[in-house]
Structures are given as structure tokens and as C-alpha cells.
């Protein structure tokens, strides 16, 4: 496993693409968060805005880049045919996918942590000027606050799980553009479905089972009991999706001709 891991790490760092994607994911996450923080305002006390949730809007954009990064790790090998060299060097499909998962998770965290911290910094600088002040019941966002810490750290985990989901799907479809299409379709479908379905039971169920919706529960800090799913169980649902995708990808990798 350690040699396969070392090999995957060497692969990742010897082309420029992943580096730029990591940088792009971090920058876009921070940028959209900052823009959203700038757009939202709180006019009076009790405006009911979940400040950390606003500050983490950029994660919705960052996840697209993270998905591309993860999908490319597998998709590029199929595109070039290098997958056969890889499998000749590491015949165990489980070990290979495990090694890729670790490397992808690491690269994603390298993007997510600065991205999320940037979002936090931007929110801290911008939001007090938009009415999120002590008079309106908003203390400056602090990462020592339990809920806020959960939202921000959880968002980094969310991005990591999205990357693993993407990796599993890429291993299953073996083509990078298709993989990105499937992943983004899955991630962005939930809010659209929720807007269409008006039956409250259906809507609630959707929020509970769709990967992006359930996973994003981790970003909520207020009014938790009314959420369709709690923050950690929500992230758990996403984790199940990721695990399912990886198992499916690994199984297909094992069964199919390379």
C-alpha cells in the first residue's frame, strides 16, 4: 500500500494540472463566499440569517473544481491508456483505489482548508459591514465557537467526501468528461428537485438522501432541530455515497478488462 501511495503521489506532483486545480478550488471557494457575504445583509436583530452558512456558499463552486480534480486522477489514466501500466505495476485494484483515495483526499484538503479559511477570513472582514453586528445578534465569526468550527471544518470534510465520490464514479465510468457530468448532475440536482417537489414529505426525504443536500447540513449552525437531517448525520449520508461510489468503482475495476 505504501509503495502504491508513493507512486500515486509521484504521479500527482509530476504534472502541473492538479496543482492548478487545487489552487483554483481554494480561490473560487473563497471568492464566491466573499461575493455572497458582500451581497447578503442583515437589517435588524432577528433577521434569521445563518452567517456561517452564507460565508460557506463558495463551497458550492469549489466542489465542482474538486470533482474535476478527483475525476482527472482516474480519467487521465484511461484517456492516455496509462491505466494498464498502472495496473501492471499495482495489480491489486483495491490497493490502487485506496492509494488514489488517500492522495485525492490529501490534495482536496490542501485546497479545502485554505479555501474554507479564506471564506472565514472574508466573512469576518465583510459581514460586520453588512449588518452582522453585535447589535443584531451576530458576534464576529470565531472558529473557537463550536457550531462555527463544525460548519467550517465540516465543509473541508464535505469537499473531501465529494472528491472521493467523484473518484469512485470516475473509476466506474472510466471517462473524465462523463465522470464530471455524472458527479455535477448528482450534486446540483438536489436543489433543483427540491424546488420542484412541493410535497413536504418528499422534500424532506430528498434533503435527507441527496448527497449534496444532506452533506451541506454540516454548514448549518442555527435552527438545527428543524433541519431535515442533522449536521453530522448529513455528512454521514454523503460519506455513505462516497463509500458506495468507491466500492462500485473498485468492483468494476476488478471485474472489467483494463
Amino acid at each position: 500500500m505504501s509503495t502504491a501511495l508513493y507512486a500515486e503521489w509521484t504521479k500527482l506532483r509530476t504534472v502541473a494540472g492538479p496543482f492548478w486545480l487545487v489552487a483554483l478550488a481554494a480561490v473560487l471557494t473563497t471568492a464566491l463566499s466573499a461575493v455572497t457575504a458582500r451581497a447578503v445583509s442583515c437589517a435588524a436583530a432577528g433577521c434569521g440569517v445563518d452567517a456561517p452558512l452564507i460565508a460557506l456558499t463558495g463551497v458550492q463552486l469549489g466542489q465542482a473544481v474538486v470533482a474535476v480534480l478527483a475525476v482527472m486522477v482516474v480519467g487521465d489514466e484511461y484517456r492516455t491508456g496509462m491505466i494498464r501500466t498502472t495496473l501492471a505495476a499495482t495489480p491489486s485494484r483495491a490497493v490502487l483505489l485506496g492509494a488514489k483515495s488517500v492522495v485525492v483526499a490529501g490534495a482536496t484538503l490542501a485546497a479545502a482548508v485554505p479555501g474554507v479559511l479564506g471564506a472565514w477570513l472574508a466573512a469576518r472582514l465583510i459581514m460586520p459591514g453588512r449588518g452582522f453586528t453585535a447589535e443584531h445578534g451576530y458576534a464576529p465569526l470565531s472558529l473557537t465557537d463550536g457550531g462555527t468550527l463544525r460548519a467550517f471544518a465540516g465543509s473541508a470534510l464535505y469537499l473531501t467526501l465529494v472528491a472521493l465520490l467523484s473518484l469512485g464514479i470516475a473509476a466506474a465510468v472510466r471517462d473524465a468528461p462523463t465522470g464530471v457530468g455524472v458527479v455535477l448532475g448528482l450534486l446540483y440536482l438536489a436543489p433543483i428537485l427540491a424546488a420542484v417537489v412541493s410535497d413536504p414529505d418528499w422534500e424532506r426525504r430528498l434533503h435527507q438522501i441527496m448527497p449534496s443536500d444532506a452533506g451541506a447540513a454540516i454548514q448549518h449552525t442555527i435552527d438545527l432541530p428543524s433541519l431535515p437531517i442533522g449536521p453530522w448525520p448529513g455528512l454521514g449520508v454523503l460519506a455513505l455515497w462516497s463509500a458506495g461510489a468507491l466500492v462500485l468503482g473498485g468492483l468494476l475495476l476488478r471485474l472489467r478488462d483494463a
Binding site: T36, A39, V40, S41, C47, G48, V49, D50, L53, I54, T57, Q60, L61, A64, V65, A67, V68, V71, M72, G75, R79, D175, A176, P177, T178, G179, V180, G181, L184, G185, Y188, L189, P191, I192, L193, A194, A195, V196, V197, S198, D199, P200, W202, E203
Partner: protein, 497 residues
């Protein structure tokens, strides 16, 4: 060029995966229509809720409830009145656990007048809700208006207080005046001849404040009540010596509506009541375009095809064969765009039609009504949107030459702005702005519910209202695609194959 188009068409249809992709796109679209139809809750604007509403003569669902002091009018006649004062104020919103508001009097909150509180003259074909009418009125903050048949609204002088309606044959003409001497014609409208009701009325729509927060928009508000004071009422042509009688039109529309009252002291009438005479916005209820929301998924699938249509040529070095066969690279790009646009338009048309038919079959007519022309517009518009978006994907694929990145770029450009706006993450003003400049503006082609200037509503993306008209929004997407195609063509010419 025709040969080139045929060559590209052959390329497209000879890859089985791409044909399968087209099929998947269509199936997903229909599937989403089924989910949308099945997931419609009858409790939120289901047939029972919607069906109870009156409809105007053109089928638009309307509110028709007001306090009416009237006399019969059989033939021609002239009504004149001065609206001495109009106030429309919000009632204290019901506190939790308190099902009905307190008695109207004494619970009035603030003195700000409801903008669309109405007091004035009306000639109406009977007191049945939904029947045609012509009215001229003073409003809370929109000046004098002449309105007829719910959907028509004509602005009159801002500060007039004297109102007049003249019925001549099949036409009713409205006048307004500041002094009761010099009259300004506001407009006229047809009204069937025969016996009608004529008189004075007040109404005010409920007080509403829209507040948008992450994941939803809340409507804060509650009942409101209008008080209108009238004097100098004259009614030439009305029934001889007939007394003025009060009718509460559409009184049982909503149980929480304050009771209509009218008092008369000499020549002065004081009318109090709530309700409105106006079309209903589509707001939170089911809408026909929801059956086409699978367009997002179809678009994602077809965007992948659009990107692959060009990037696979680079991947396999096929592009050299292509450019050897046709040295003019711009023409190759044009042929690809034509083929892709035509094929995906056809797929989109079939899929959207099927989605609408299947969804309607499941859900019935349980949605805001859309006439045939609107239905054609949303189906054709959705197909066109999908086709142009796929061509945008082709152009971005040509620019980036990397399939994965191109797919992500297209999906993020089109879907993410829509999600952030429609899911009410962004405040309404920002959301409007986003839906004006991003390719997501094109989803305006799917909007079926019109915006009524005479109805105060949150016409925000969160409620399915787009800032641009249907074809304006579509033009935004076309602009993006055109720019991307030009950049792609320039790069194609410059770069080595």
C-alpha cells in the same frame, strides 16, 4: 458546407455512446417530470385549493373579493363620486397559537397605507366572483387607476380624488378629476350590455413583507383592512329610487378576512373591508414549467456530449484527419455547431414534449394555467435552450481542449447561478442581477406565470420569476455562446492541430 455538415453528422451518429447519451437525456427529462408531478402536494395549491378560485374570462385565476355598495344598472348611466379619504393598514399578524386575528377595530398597527388599497367606482356584471367589471379607483400609493377584467390596468392622474364611470352601450369609460369640474379621460373598456351592478367599493390585498434567507423565502404579513370615505355620490341611470345596498363580494374566500362594513351619514359613505380585485400570481403553487425541470439534467448530459464531440478528436489525433480533409477550421467548427445544435434541439423538443405530456397526465391541470401558446413557448424554448447550451459546451470544449474542465465550466456557468438564485441563497436583488448576466438567464423561457404590475408580489427568482423576458433571457445565453464560438474559432486558427 453541406458536405461538411453531413460529415460531422456521420461522425456524431456513428458513435453509439453519443446516441445512448441523447436517449439518456430524454429519459431523465421525462423521469424528472414524473417526480415533479408525483411530488406535487395537493395541500399546497392542489386542485381543491386552486379550483375554488374564480377565473377571469380569459382563464386567469383571480381574487375577487371586496366591499361593494351598489345599485342595479340596466342601461346607460353615469356614476360620479369623490373619495374623501382612503386608508389601508395592516392588521397585527396573528401570534402563534392564535388562529384568527382579533376584531378588525383596535388591532390596527401602523398608519402606512397599503400600496394597492383600493377605493372607487365599479360597474360589474353581477356580484358573482370572477364576473367582468370596469372600475376606476384611488389607490394607496399608485394614484388613480382604471382596471377592468382583472388583468388590465391603466394609470390615471396621481392626485385626482373625483372619479366618474360612464356606461354607453357596450362601453364603459373612466374619468378622473382633481376638482370635480375638469375631467380627464383615463380609459375605456367594453362591458356586456344588460343588467349590471354599479356602485362604490373598497378592498385591500393582505399586508405582505418578503424576507429572503438561506434556503427559502418567507412571507411575513397578514390581513389588512381598507377604509374608504366617499361623498358627492351621484348615479344617473340607476334604478329609480333604488337604495344603496352593501354586498360583500366573495366573502367566504378566506375565513380570516375581516368583515365588510358600510355606514352612511347623509351623503357620506364609509366602507371598510379587505380582499382584492386582481389576478393571482403563481407564487408558491405548482407551475407547469416545473415539469420541465429535467432540462437541467438533460442539459448536463448533452453538455458532456457537446464537449466530447470536439475533445475526442484531440484525444485520438482524429483532429488532424479532420483538418486534413477540411483545412478551414472555422468551417469545421461551424459544421459541428450546426450538427450538434440541430440534433440536441430535436432531442430537447421530443424530451420536453414528452415530459410535459407525461407530467400533465399524472398531475392533471393542478397548476397555474398556461395557454397553448405559452406551452408551445416553454417546450420550444427549453429545446432551444438545451441546443444552444450544448453548442456553448462545444465552444468551451474547443477552447479548453480538456473534457473534464469544459464540462465543469458549462455546468457551473448554467446551473450554479440558477441554484444560487432560485434556492434563495442570494438576496433577491443580487439574484436578479445574476440571472441577467449569466447563461442561466435563459431559463426565463420556462416562466409561465406572468408578472402583474397591479399586484404587489415578490417577483423574485425564488418564486420562479425571472428578471428578463423569455426571449431576452434566451438572448443572454446566445450572446455567451456567440462569444465562446468566436474565441474558439480564433484559437482554432492560431493553434497547431
Amino acid at each position: 458546407m453541406i458536405g461538411l455538415v453531413r460529415a460531422e453528422l456521420t461522425k456524431f451518429r456513428s458513435v453509439r455512446g453519443w446516441l445512448v447519451g441523447c436517449g439518456i437525456a430524454a429519459v431523465l427529462m421525462v423521469l424528472l417530470a414524473v417526480v415533479a408531478a408525483a411530488g406535487t402536494d395537493a395541500r399546497v395549491g392542489g386542485p381543491r385549493a386552486r379550483g375554488a378560485l374564480p377565473h377571469s374570462s380569459d382563464g386567469t385565476p383571480v381574487f375577487d373579493g371586496f366591499t361593494f355598495v351598489q345599485r342595479p344598472l340596466d342601461g346607460d348611466g353615469t356614476l360620479t363620486v369623490r373619495v374623501a379619504s382612503l386608508s389601508g393598514v395592516a392588521l397585527r399578524p396573528p401570534t402563534p397559537g392564535d388562529t384568527a386575528p382579533e376584531a378588525p377595530s383596535g388591532s390596527e398597527e401602523e398608519a402606512t397605507t397599503e400600496p394597492w388599497a383600493k377605493a372607487g367606482l365599479i360597474i360589474k356584471a353581477g356580484t358573482t366572483p370572477g364576473s367582468p367589471y370596469t372600475a376606476v379607483m384611488v389607490t394607496g400609493s399608485h394614484g388613480v387607476r382604471m382596471q377592468h377584467d382583472f388583468v388590465h390596468d391603466v394609470a390615471g392622474p396621481v392626485d385626482a380624488r373625483w372619479l366618474r364611470l360612464v356606461r354607453t352601450g357596450g362601453t364603459v369609460t373612466a374619468y378622473a378629476s382633481t376638482d370635480g369640474a375638469a375631467w380627464t379621460r383615463v380609459g375605456s373598456a367594453p362591458l356586456a350590455t344588460g343588467a349590471v351592478s354599479a356602485g362604490i367599493f373598497v378592498a385591500t390585498p393582505p399586508h405582505q413583507e418578503y424576507e429572503q434567507f438561506l434556503g427559502g423565502t418567507s412571507v411575513v404579513g397578514g390581513g389588512a383592512i381598507a377604509t374608504g370615505t366617499f361623498d358627492n355620490l351621484s348615479a344617473a341611470g340607476t334604478g329609480p329610487g333604488g337604495d344603496w345596498t352593501m354586498v360583500s363580494v366573495g366573502a367566504d374566500d378566506s375565513p380570516n378576512r375581516p368583515e365588510s362594513t358600510s355606514t352612511r351619514e347623509g351623503d357620506t359613505f364609509v366602507l371598510r373591508g379587505a380582499g382584492d380585485i386582481a389576478p393571482i400570481d403563481g407564487g408558491a403553487g405548482p407551475k407547469q414549467e416545473q415539469l420541465l425541470s429535467g432540462g437541467f439534467l438533460a442539459l448536463t448530459v448533452l453538455a458532456v456530449l457537446g464537449v466530447l464531440f470536439v475533445t475526442t478528436e484531440y484525444r485520438r489525433g482524429l483532429v488532424r484527419t479532420t483538418f486534413a480533409a477540411t483545412p478551414s477550421r472555422v468551417r469545421v467548427l461551424a459544421a459541428k455547431a450546426v450538427v450538434l445544435g440541430a440534433v440536441t434541439f430535436a432531442v430537447g423538443l421530443v424530451a420536453a414534449t414528452a415530459a410535459l405530456l407525461v407530467g400533465t397526465a399524472i398531475r392533471g391541470a393542478n397548476h397555474y394555467p398556461a395557454d397553448a401558446l405559452t406551452q408551445v413557448r416553454i417546450v420550444v424554448g427549453t429545446a432551444a435552450l438545451i441546443a444552444v447550451a450544448t453548442v456553448l459546451a462545444l465552444a468551451i470544449g474547443t477552447i479548453l481542449r480538456r473534457g473534464a474542465g469544459a464540462v465543469a465550466a458549462v455546468v457551473v456557468l448554467i446551473t450554479l447561478p440558477y441554484i444560487l438564485s432560485a434556492a434563495a441563497v442570494l438576496p433577491a436583488a443580487t439574484a436578479d442581477w445574476v440571472l441577467r448576466i449569466t447563461p442561466a438567464a435563459a431559463f426565463a423561457v420556462q416562466q409561465t406565470v406572468p408578472e402583474w404590475p397591479q399586484v404587489d408580489q415578490a417577483y423574485t427568482p425564488a418564486f420562479g420569476f425571472f428578471p428578463l423576458p423569455a426571449w431576452g433571457g434566451f438572448a443572454v445565453l446566445c450572446c455567451w455562446t456567440a462569444v465562446a464560438l468566436v474565441v474558439a474559432a480564433a484559437l482554432l486558427r492560431r493553434r497547431d492541430a
